[in-house]
């Protein structure tokens, strides 16, 4: 299924959170090219503030796991409580413990760094289409 078919009148809005500027920029460019509306935050607290203040809400969140202040694990738990319909992709490069936690805190998909952007694309398409089916 082509991603463009999934979109309603408005482009889908994604929130990406990572404390690594390089990763954030790469994700931003990749997703913007795909014509998503992308908003980025460099840590969990800023990400949470964006989630809470954005009236329309986000269609998908992509977050790093190991971050200062609010970790990805903490952020995913909060998202799943406050915004249960928002799918979350966790990205990590830190070995088994955080990854196991990510699954425990109900991330919809965990991707280990390094991953191919096509893998991310696939995961996004899958989550967006299943979200659409639910609605």
């Amino acid at each position: 299924m082509n991603i463009k078919l999934n979109r309603m009148d408005q482009p889908l809005k994604f929130l990406i959170i990572d404390d690594d500027e390089h990763v954030l920029a790469t994700l931003y460019d990749f997703l913007s090219d795909k014509k998503y509306d992308v908003i980025s935050a460099s840590d969990g607290l800023d990400g949470l503030k964006l989630l809470e203040s954005d009236k329309q809400g986000f269609d998908l969140v992509i977050t790093d796991l190991v971050m200062p202040q609010i970790s990805g694990i903490g952020l995913i738990s909060i998202i799943k409580k406050k915004f249960p319909d928002t799918p979350v992709i966790a990205i990590t490069g830190w070995g088994e413990y955080p990854e196991a936690f990510a699954t425990e805190s109900q991330a919809d998909k965990v991707l280990s760094k390094p991953f191919e952007l096509s893998e991310l694309d696939k995961a996004i398409n899958k989550l967006i289409s299943s979200k659409k089916h639910k609605v």
């Binding site: 607290l45 949470l48 503030k49 809470e52 200062p68 202040q69 609010i70 970790s71 694990i73 903490g74 738990s77 909060i78 409580k81 413990y97 955080p98 936690f101």
Partner: protein, 343 residues
């Protein structure tokens, strides 16, 4: 009501914001920072803003007790669990049910207790010593440490899985020397607070140059040291002596670090005789006896405070360590105005 988090620095503003956003989540929190920065104040603020604020807040200092005692303190025991357990005792985790358990100095916890703690965090259950039945506890775990847990994990002294589990929310409080703009509001707050405690005794207003000196000082003991200095100034009723004291401290620290320890004697003399201070000493009041008394008092106060802190203010134990009578230690505490360190 918890002590408010005082400060206008960006890092303190950020911590306040973080507290507001996570206090209702019940997610594990670890608070880090040097001794005296106010980790317990942050824990209490989290508790105060949480839906658990009417439930217990139970503090456990993990460094204060030997392993076995800490275990029975945390998880409790059944009657007959060990020699001397003549009655059942409920553990802190049980007492903190639906409230907060604040695990201070978590970096000092033994590996075996760490695995028991991990079990509680994973399952919400634990077995008191001598019991086969697991007890449920919905305690919100807020831990604190002044140690680098990452380093302890690397050295195998702290469980990596426990580290990540506690690290869900991490609040780092920077040392006071990195946020001098917080010093004036802290001083204002504590002067106000202590004024009511110390019989409304007011100390003269701080002149701008004196404030500058206080802001330039490195405060190795952080907010706790600032509190002690302010309490001292309330008793003496004067800033000059206090600032001299700090001047002496930073000077002797600088002297020690440059290995010119021969000069240290000179700076002690300076301070005791008030030669190089902000004010000059009154020659008429000067005598060797007075200077000796002042020096002895100062050392006695430091040593007694240190031992009291190490014994958790157990005066009987402290008097045994110091080889003085119980009566003498009580007298010294009063005479030298030794105060318990708490924030």
């Amino acid at each position: 009501m918890a002590t408010p988090l005082i400060g206008t620095s960006e890092s303190i503003e950020r911590i306040r914001e973080l507290i507001d956003h996570v206090a209702d989540t019940g997610l594990n929190v670890i608070i880090t920072g040097e001794s005296g920065v106010g980790k317990e104040v942050v824990a209490q603020n989290l508790y105060d803003k949480s839906p658990r604020k009417d439930k217990p807040f139970i503090k456990v200092n993990c460094a204060a007790l030997p392993d076995g005692l800490l275990e029975s303190e945390l998880f409790g025991f059944e009657r007959g669990a060990f020699t001397g357990a003549d009655r059942k005792k409920r553990g802190k985790f049980e007492l903190a049910h639906e409230g907060v358990i604040f695990l201070d100095e978590i970096g000092d916890m033994s590996l075996s207790l760490q695995s028991k703690l991990l079990h509680v965090l994973q399952s919400g259950e634990f077995a008191p010593l001598g019991s086969e039945k697991e007890v449920r506890s919905d305690a919100w775990v807020i831990a604190a440490t002044n140690q680098e847990l990452e380093q302890k994990v690397k050295k195998g002294l702290f469980r990596e899985d426990l580290y990540y589990r506690l690290n869900t929310i991490k609040i780092f409080i920077p040392p006071l020397r990195n946020r001098p703009e917080d010093i004036p509001p802290l001083i204002d707050y504590y002067i106000e607070k202590y004024a009511s405690q110390f019989d409304k005794k007011r100390i003269p207003k701080l002149e701008p140059d004196a404030m500058e000196k206080l802001m330039a000082y490195s405060w190795p003991g952080n907010v706790r040291e600032l509190q002690n200095v302010l309490k001292g100034s309330m008793v003496i009723g004067d800033w000059k002596e206090i600032i001299d004291d700090l001047y002496f401290k930073s000077r002797s620290a600088a002297v020690t670090s440059s290995e010119e320890s021969a000069l240290e004697g000179a700076s002690i003399v300076d301070v005791l005789l008030d030669f190089k201070g902000v004010y000059s000493s009154d020659q008429a009041l000067f005598s060797l006896k007075k200077v000796t008394k002042k020096a002895t008092d100062r050392i006695e106060k430091e040593v007694i405070s240190f031992v009291l802190d190490k014994t958790g203010w157990n005066r009987t134990n402290a008097s045994k360590i110091l080889k003085i009578s119980y009566k003498t230690i009580l007298y010294k505490i009063n005479d030298l105005n030794i105060k318990r360190h708490n924030e």
